[in-house]
Each structure stands twice: as structure tokens, then as C-alpha cells.
Symmetry: C2
Subunit: 385 residues, 2 copies
């Protein structure tokens, strides 16, 4: 089937298993739920929902979203601390526009989400990466850096991090906020995987709950992975003082709110319970896929010297290659074996011996084939050395 | 009725006639057409339209949009020279992000769209304004400026300009492109009113057609005023060399295309002819409202010393006040008389004796009441002096 709507063609397993793809599987896209929600929305009689929309998102939608998040987080969310965005990347762009100048320094984790690093580059920001440990950012290394440099903001993926799957501990969340006040920088927490922890996992609260003085934390969320990417809808959870310069900016004074019609469709999905139903199913489905990927890694890759950490949620497993195997060198051999991945160096310079595997797109049988091919590729590369 | 979806409450005529409002009247929002188009879109069976979308907008939509624009412009539009945006302001933000650094100089017309000036400020750009004449930008003044300063881009509203209603002549369009090559700057043409010229008006082609070397011109269009603002959908028409850095940027690599679901709804509206039907009706309706506003101005304001130019389309009439009347001083008296407008100084410093009247939102009876109140306010202010 030729590509019609998508960003790019994802190959079928007989051509290649592309473990780079950080997208939901088409089987995970809730077409029927979206149809039902859209039909409800477009049955409304007030033409004003087609007008320039309320800038932070119309109040009733923010109330519904706050209710949904309050239930999921198990902690209160104030609708007036929500601002509707068109997703995490749109949100990052807005923060970069309104809070930074070209040349400003931002910090990110090492490794970090590789496209966030590219977005900072697009905005002409300088980015330094700070090493992370099993429980998140190395706070000693961070404070050493803060003594020398003055970043405008720090970008973190606190829960089920991309690419490591690691989660910032509660102690480190508190410490990070303390440092943000001491050294005066913003924390931008990409919490896109927060609601995608596996069933039974109860990690720390999202970052805003550790900022009791309410001055420093933007939490950036998205419907892309809990409902559907094409909706282009997400949210900030942030104190009113940080939302104000966004609400007051020229772009929104001109254009009104972001995606008000899609907000209405998602509003119906929240009110009808379809959002919650899809999210619960998605968490289970991702867990099943992750367990299967880890089983395949244990079976085909651990015996040849690989290791991996078990993520608490999200989309990814970070694989450590056998000593001496460099992921960028492996890639050519892997592609010849009809399997692909994202090399660790995309995320940070210290990760040449790692690669990232996504378990969201392919089904169990395809994952099995892909990991076998990867094992073959590693053996071929080792044999050549 | 309390505000539910909108950016702000527009008063009813008994409270105030707010001629500042540059929005379609609720009576001009095609709720039924959008419903029909959405029902067609959501009946589709391919779940991939809910995936991360094609970055420039999916090809079939760009082909449909190119066909529609080709017919409306009477000149060919290449689908590969289109990029789907979320409207003019989103488009301006993207250009500012990818083509400018903080502190760069941009040029705009004097007077110019006041919120574009605010957007440049949000992006930390310095903006100088260049005077315009009846047929658009004063090219002598522009070249004098270009000899001294090095702008990254020039922002223009070439057709039915906001706020003057003036249209850049064909000769000046050619000259502007010549200067863009000679002094190496981008032209960003906000053509939001190009399709909203009144019935029978045939102005010059949009700006891209004068850039035969295809290196310098972004044309920025929008569905906000030809279909509905809340769709948050617009387009760039630009050469591939200028679209490439946008298509390749980190934000879109991460998020995919802008608003793919809404693109699908508008696609159905184009294919079914509802977009064309609504546009044709809208042009006639705006013309009727404009004629009525001008008749009221002739009846109530010209006799007391005001004058105005007849626009060829768009949403606005720029009113010149009697000598010695300053629009910011008039505003307080006007508000006391239950009428409001946007003072000329919002658009440029030379326009203190002008104000902008929008004819898009209120119906004929309300326009009549509003202009009578404005006449009273002018007389009261003159009597006080």
C-alpha cells in the first residue's frame, strides 16, 4: 500500500524491521473512538466553535482535561494552570520563542530525546547535556555545571525517559526544583510518557507537584501517544505566572487558541470515557509488546554479550552492545540484515555502544524476527573484527 | 449568552459596537458545510490518517489545494510549492524561527498589521516600518533604507492591506522582488485577503508569480477567513529551496505535519465544492457590508470632515479623522458613546489621525448605529477643544 497520509513509509517485516520508529502501531490508533467523538462534536449547534478560539483553550475543555489528569495523576490539576498546545514539540517551540534569545544556553539529559536537541538548534540555542544515572540526572554533575554556566532552562523527560526508559526519583525531582530556584532556570519536563507507565507501576508525581512555590516548572503533555498523533493536541501544566506571557503573546492575540475544533473532539472522548478506555488498553498493550521485546533480547542478544534495562513504561528499550561494538558501525550490517535502529550517539556522545529499540510499532512476530536479525548482525560485525 | 468557545466576548449593539473586531460574523461561519465535510472525512477507513502526518501536508490535500488556488488565482500552483501551516501567524512564527536570529532586522509597511509587529517583537526581532503610498510601499523610501540597513525580511500585505485596504501595484510588485535580489532579503507576503477581493475586482497576482528566479518569496495564506478561523489551517506558497529548511527542521521531524485531520476535513470541503461556494458567498457578503459601511461614513462622517479610501476587498476601511482629531483621544469619548475602533497608531506612528473600522462582524443595522455613535463622539471631542 503506498503511503497516503503518514510522515514516511514504515517498512513491512519482509523488507525490514525498523526499530527506530517511535510511533503507535496502526493497530493502536482508535479510529472508531475518534469517529464517535467527532460525530458528537460536529452535532453541536453553536457556530462559535468555528471562531478564533479562546487562547489557553476553552474553559470547559480545560476543566474536562483537568478532571482526567487529576484522576490519572491522583493529584489535583487546576484548569487555570493548563494551556492547550499542539503537542510536546509545539510546546517546546513556544517556550523557546517566548523565554529564550538566540545563543542562550539550555541543558538536557545525556542521553536525551534527539529531536528536542534538534529543536533547540533550530531556535539557535546552545545545548549542554548532563549525564544521567539509573534514577535520573546526576545532580552532582549538574550542580558543578550550574556553578560555571547560566542556563535559561533544563529539558528533562522525567518518567520512562526516551531513550533509557529510566525515571527520575522523587528525591531528585525535589533536588532539581531546589537547584532551579538556587540557579534561576526553568525546568521543562517532557511528560509524554508519564501516563504510559505499565499497569501496576506507580512512579513519582509529574514535576509541577514538586514546585510548591510555583514559579519554575513547565510540564508538557500530549495526546499523541495516549489517543492519536494526528490530533496535534497537547497541554502545558504550569503556574499562571509562566502561562501569562504565552497567553499575552502576539501570535495568540492574532490567531486565538490552538486547534479549538480538535479540542472539542478530544473533549467528547474524555467526557464519554473513551479516552480513559483507550489509555488503559494502550498501557497494557505497550507492556505486552515491551515484555515480548525483552524476552527476545534475553533469548537472542544477552547470550552474545548485550544487556538492557527494564523500562517502567513508554515506547523504548535502550540496548547496551557487547564491548567494542559501536552502534553506528553496526547499523550498515544491520540494514544489510533487514533491521534498523537508532544509534545511541543520536541521544548523547557517551552512548556509542548503545542503541534504541522501539516496541510500539511492530507486533510480536515482527519483533521476534527483527531481534533475531539484529543478533545476526552483531555476530557478523564481531566476526569481521 | 456567556462566551463558551471564543477568544473574547464581542459586545451586542446595545452595549457597544466594537469596530475593532477583525473576525467573521458568526452568521458567516459555515457550520453546515464543515459538518458535511467532517462527516465525509471521519467515514474514511484508513486509520493511518490518525498517525503522525506528512510534514508539508499529505500530497492529495496539497494537490486539491493547488487545484483550488490555480482556479482562484488564474495562474498555476505547484502542489510541491505548498506547505500546510496552521495559519498566517503560525507561518510567520515558523519563518522567524528558521530564517532569523534574535536581534535581526525586519521591515514592514507603515501602517502594517499591528499583530505581525507584536509577533516580530516576541521573536526578539527589530522592526522598521516603510511608508506606503496609494499603490503600496514607497519604493524610493525603501531603497534609501536598504542602502543603510540589512534586513532579513520584509513583511507586506500586498492585496487589500490591513489596515488601509490598499493593493500593491503590479509595477511595485516587480520592483520589490528586484530589490529583494539586489539587497538579499526575503519577502513574506501575507496574502490572507487576496481571495477576499470584492466580486469583479481583478488585482495583480500573488507575490510568488513575480519571483521568476524562485528564491525570495514566501506567500502566506489561510483558511481562517475563507472558511473558518478555528480550523487553524493555512499554507505557504514558496519555492522548494525555501520550503526545504522548514520540511527538514527538528520540530516537524518530531511532530509530523501540521493538523493533518483538519487538512482532511478541508480537503473534503474543496473536493465537494463547498469551499468555493462559501468563498464566493463570502466575497459578496463582505462587499455588501463594506458598501453599507462606506454609505454610513459618507452620510454621518464625511460632512463633519472625515474621509476614507474605498478598499478593493478584505475586512477594513481606514478612516481619516478631521484635522486636529487624534484617534487615541477620540477613543475615550467613543467608548462613552458605546462605539470602539482600533486607533491608527496601532499600525504605525504616522497614523495618529486615522482609525480602522472593520465591516466583517456586525450586520447593516448595527453598522449604521455604530457609525452614528462615532459621528457623535467626533462632534463631542471637537466641541470640547
Amino acid at each position: 500500500m503506498p503511503i497516503k497520509y503518514g510522515q514516511y513509509t514504515v517498512p513491512k517485516v519482509d523488507e525490514e524491521v525498523n526499530f527506530k520508529v517511535g510511533q503507535p502501531s496502526p493497530a493502536m490508533l482508535p479510529l472508531d473512538y475518534i469517529r464517535k467523538s467527532a460525530a458528537e462534536k460536529f452535532a453541536e449547534d453553536d457556530p462559535n466553535y468555528l471562531q478564533y478560539g479562546d487562547i489557553p483553550g476553552y474553559k470547559e475543555f480545560r476543566v474536562a482535561l483537568a478532571g482526567f489528569l487529576t484522576q490519572e495523576y491522583g493529584a489535583p490539576v487546576d484548569p487555570d494552570e493548563l494551556f492547550v498546545t499542539n503537542g510536546v514539540t509545539g510546546g517546546l517551540a513556544m517556550i523557546a520563542t517566548l523565554f529564550c534569545h538566540s545563543g542562550d544556553l539550555v541543558l538536557a539529559e545525556d542521553p536525551s530525546y534527539f529531536l528536542a536537541l534538534r529543536i533547540f538548534e533550530d531556535f539557535k540555542l546552545t545545548c549542554h547535556q548532563v549525564p544521567i544515572e539509573k534514577d535520573g540526572i546526576d545532580m552532582v554533575a549538574l550542580e558543578e555545571l550550574l556553578k560555571k554556566e547560566k542556563p535559561k532552562m533544563l529539558y528533562t523527560v522525567p518518567t520512562a525517559q526516551n531513550p533509557t526508559g529510566r525515571t527520575l526519583s522523587e528525591e531528585k525531582r525535589k533536588k532539581l526544583v531546589e537547584l532551579a530556584y538556587k540557579y534561576d532556570f526553568l525546568i521543562v519536563a517532557d511528560e509524554v510518557y508519564h501516563l504510559l507507565t505499565f499497569p501496576g507501576v506507580h512512579g513519582p508525581l509529574p514535576m509541577p507537584y514538586y514546585d510548591t512555590k510555583k514559579e519554575k516548572v513547565f510540564s508538557v503533555g500530549s495526546f499523541s501517544k495516549i489517543l492519536a498523533p494526528a490530533l496535534r493536541l497537547g497541554w502545558f501544566q504550569a503556574p499562571k505566572s509562566l502561562l501569562k506571557p504565552i497567553i499575552d503573546c502576539g501570535m495568540f492575540d492574532s490567531s486565538g487558541g490552538i486547534n479549538p475544533v480538535m479540542s472539542g473532539v478530544v473533549h467528547k472522548a474524555i467526557d464519554s470515557g473513551l479516552q480513559k478506555k483507550h489509555l488503559d488498553w494502550t498501557r497494557g498493550e505497550l507492556h505486552t509488546r515491551c515484555k515480548h521485546l525483552m524476552e527476545c533480547c534475553t533469548k537472542y542478544l544477552v547470550p552474545i554479550g548485550c544487556s538492557f534495562e527494564e523500562p517502567l513504561g513508554g515506547y523504548f528499550v535502550l540496548l547496551k552492545l557487547p564491548d567494542g561494538v559501536i552502534s553506528t558501525e553496526l547499523l550498515d550490517v544491520a540494514v544489510a540484515n533487514k533491521v534498523r535502529f537508532l544509534p545511541g550517539t543520536s541521544f548523547g556522545k557517551a552512548y556509542a555502544g548503545y542503541l534504541r529499540l522501539s516496541f510500539s510499532y511492530y507486533n510480536s512476530a515482527d519483533i521476534d524476527v527483527g531481534i533475531q536479525r539484529l543478533g545476526e548482525a552483531i555476530k557478523q560485525l564481531q566476526a569481521k573484527k
